[in-house]
């Protein structure tokens, strides 16, 4: 069991900066996700850890050893690929045994370890099949067994679930986490699926535009995003650009929002002290933190009268888009809020707590 240390790693492809000075520590036994939109550099970073790409600058350590100049086949890593990358000419057993045969282990030990790895992913009875005879989920499990059979020091997962359908993906997420916990191996998952990253990881590193935007637990990155990029990438968000009111402390005016003709929306951040580098501050409000009331709210601040513009029902919740005199808000509300679905054009009141307004950095 070993940790990973990324030390000021950069990667430049023909003048394009894919990774800009990324430093990161993945702890022993941790399930770490690299999350970001496509082209953010997450796959580049994973390939650098695996050794398929060389960093333009910086060092990579696995278990305290500098592996930057080590070829991939000398790093003892387990890797699972997006399209499974099972060897089509070999059986399931031969696929899992591949790395062990390369290591020239005695035949008996190979058999034991393959059997063990296959039972770990619950595919013991499929040993004699060929990859094309398996479903996508089964192929993925073989790929995991193959990667773990060599008892690697770390496990790298490159979008391993993105080719599976939604339901199977959920099951596999759970199983992946389960297997990782049982083996206790340091794992790095690359994904663009924020839900996957949130549900599966101990910690998440969010990459955007080649920069590591934030590293934190799922709770931290969702509730306390470091900047605008992270807030907008993870989950839905309402963002207010606001300026402090001169006469009242802790009260901000949301510039692009008006509750009626002449009144801008006033935001009360409570006891929060915002360090102001610029004139404007950026405040975040998650859609599920907004409350709905059909009657007038006795609250001058953090509330508004709104009109329903769009509603989509997703079963357990209702996603609403509402407008006030100027500016719109996204709202997620549990299904039980309305007895029947609201009509477009309905008017009601919304309000929220001061503590739910989170200041954000503008970011790069």
């Amino acid at each position: 069991m070993k940790g990973i240390k990324i030390d000021h790693v950069s990667r430049i492809f023909n003048d394009n900066v894919a990774l800009a000075d990324v430093s990161l520590d993945v702890k022993e036994g941790e399930f770490f996700s690299l999350l970001g939109p496509s082209g953010c550099g997450k796959s580049t970073l994973l390939n650098i850890i695996a050794g398929f790409l060389e960093p333009t600058d910086g060092l990579v350590y696995i278990g305290g050893n500098n592996v930057t100049d080590l070829l991939p086949y000398r790093r003892n890593i387990g890797m699972v690929f997006q399209n499974y990358a099972l060897f089509p000419h070999l059986t399931v057993f031969e696929n899992v045994a591949y790395g062990l045969k390369i290591k020239k282990l005695p035949r008996k030990e190979i058999e034991e370890r393959v059997t063990e790895a296959l039972s770990l992913v619950q595919l013991s009875s499929f040993a004699k099949r060929r990859p094309h005879q398996l479903s996508g989920g089964q192929q993925q499990r073989v790929a995991i067994a193959r990667a773990l059979a060599i008892q690697p020091s770390i496990l790298l997962l490159d979008e391993p679930l993105s080719n599976l359908d939604a339901k199977l993906r959920k099951e596999m997420q759970f199983e992946l986490r389960n297997i990782q916990q049982r083996v206790g191996i340091t794992t790095v998952l690359v994904t663009h699926d924020q839900e996957e990253a949130l549900s599966i990881s101990d910690r998440i590193g969010i990459l955007g535009k080649g920069h590591l935007q934030q590293v934190g637990s799922p709770l931290e990155v969702y509730r306390r995003p470091a900047n605008r990029f992270v807030a907008e990438f993870i989950g839905q968000v309402n963002l207010f650009e606001a300026v402090a009111k001169k006469d009242e402390t802790g009260i901000y005016e949301a510039l692009d929002y008006q509750t009626d003709e002449n009144t801008t929306l006033n935001l009360d951040v409570g006891n929060l002290v915002i360090e102001q580098k610029q004139e404007k501050v950026l405040l975040m409000l998650r859609p599920e933190r907004i409350h709905i009331s059909k009657t007038l709210v006795e609250q001058r601040l953090n509330s508004a009268k709104v009109k329903l513009q769009e509603a989509s029902y997703i079963g357990n919740a209702l996603r609403l888009k509402v407008v006030m005199n100027k500016g719109e808000l996204s709202i997620n509300t549990p299904d039980l809020m309305f007895e029947t679905l609201p009509n477009i054009g309905d008017e009601f009141y919304v309000y929220w707590d001061a503590k739910d307004l989170i200041p954000l950095e503008e970011g790069e």
Binding site: P72, N76, G78, M79, F81, P88, H89, R130, Q133, R146
Partner: protein, 291 residues
């Protein structure tokens, strides 16, 4: 309405095929049928065609030591040419597929097919210029004092093999290149992540996955090599025991057309058997990989 539209479309598609089908019928199927018929016709001692039919020519082909030897050496020649073509074609195909830029790849493709754009005769005469007693290669070797007297490079089987390999190389490169470009690059990465070095990864993953390309190339080269005679005649001379040359002699010198026809049909079927076996292996291998 829709159905008639679809039918119309089908009729149109068949119309488009007609020129090609006609061409193949008139110039390939019909001559082949005539050749089969001819191969069974008896002849008198003056090589005149008689109206009776028998297996006599086939019996002659398969009982004469000269012809059996010629068939065996032709198959040997084809096999050697095929193996050499595959061995030389593989690295070329690799380079072609893995070339770093598109421009470089296009250049390699042009270089690869350029021999096909010159006529057989010109290409073969170039080999004569190179390989002759007073040819370029002997000249250079003599001037460098590597040899004391000229080597006989021309008018033997080696010269035929060299010329064949050069002519037929592109036919081996293209299917292998196609096969290589279809392999998922992640498979190589997966192999390396499991501890296999580059050479091991190639032997255990890339090579087995490109067997279909290798076999396709082998099928083409083998049938071309077993059936060629102009190149063999020009660089090997007419004394080489090559079956297509024997056929040529029967037609042009002995004028025994039915025997030549029987020899041709025999050669076609022998080659078909070998190509068929290769095809069967190919099918088995693909079924193993893709079901």
């Amino acid at each position: 309405m829709r159905k008639t539209k679809k039918e119309k479309q089908q009729v149109f598609q068949w119309l488009l095929l007609i020129p090609t089908v006609l061409f193949f019928c008139v110039f390939l199927v019909l001559p082949f049928v005539l050749l089969i018929v001819l191969s069974f016709r008896d002849i008198d001692s003056m090589q005149n065609l008689l109206d009776t039919y028998s297996f006599s020519h086939y019996i002659e082909v398969f009982t004469s030591d000269i012809y059996i030897d010629a068939i065996l050496s032709t198959l040997g020649l084809a096999a050697v040419t095929t193996v050499l073509c595959i061995v030389f074609a593989y690295p070329a195909a690799y380079l072609l597929v893995r070339a770093p830029s598109r421009r470089l790849r296009a250049l390699f493709y042009i270089l690869l097919v350029s021999p096909l754009l010159t006529s057989v005769v010109i290409r073969t005469f170039a080999w004569i210029v190179l390989l002759a007693q007073n040819g370029l290669i002997n000249d250079i070797l003599l001037k460098l004092h590597i040899i004391s007297e000229p080597l006989s490079l021309l008018w033997n089987m080696k010269a035929v093999v060299i010329a064949y390999v050069q002519v037929m190389l592109p036919f081996a490169v293209l299917p292998i290149a196609t096969s290589l470009s279809e392999t998922n690059p992640n498979l190589r990465n997966a192999s390396m992540s499991l501890g296999a070095g580059r050479i091991q990864s190639f032997l255990k993953v890339t090579l087995p996955l490109t067997i279909p390309g290798i076999i396709s190339g082998a099928m083409i080269v083998f049938s071309l090599a077993a059936g060629s005679y102009i190149t063999a005649l020009l660089v090997g001379g007419r004394m080489q025991p090559i079956f297509p040359l024997s056929i040529y002699q029967q037609v042009m010198q002995v004028f025994n057309l039915p025997l030549a026809a029987a020899m041709s049909i025999s050669l076609v079927f022998i080659v078909l058997i070998f190509v068929g076996i290769l095809g069967l292996i190919l099918k088995r291998w693909e079924a193993r990989m893709h079901g």
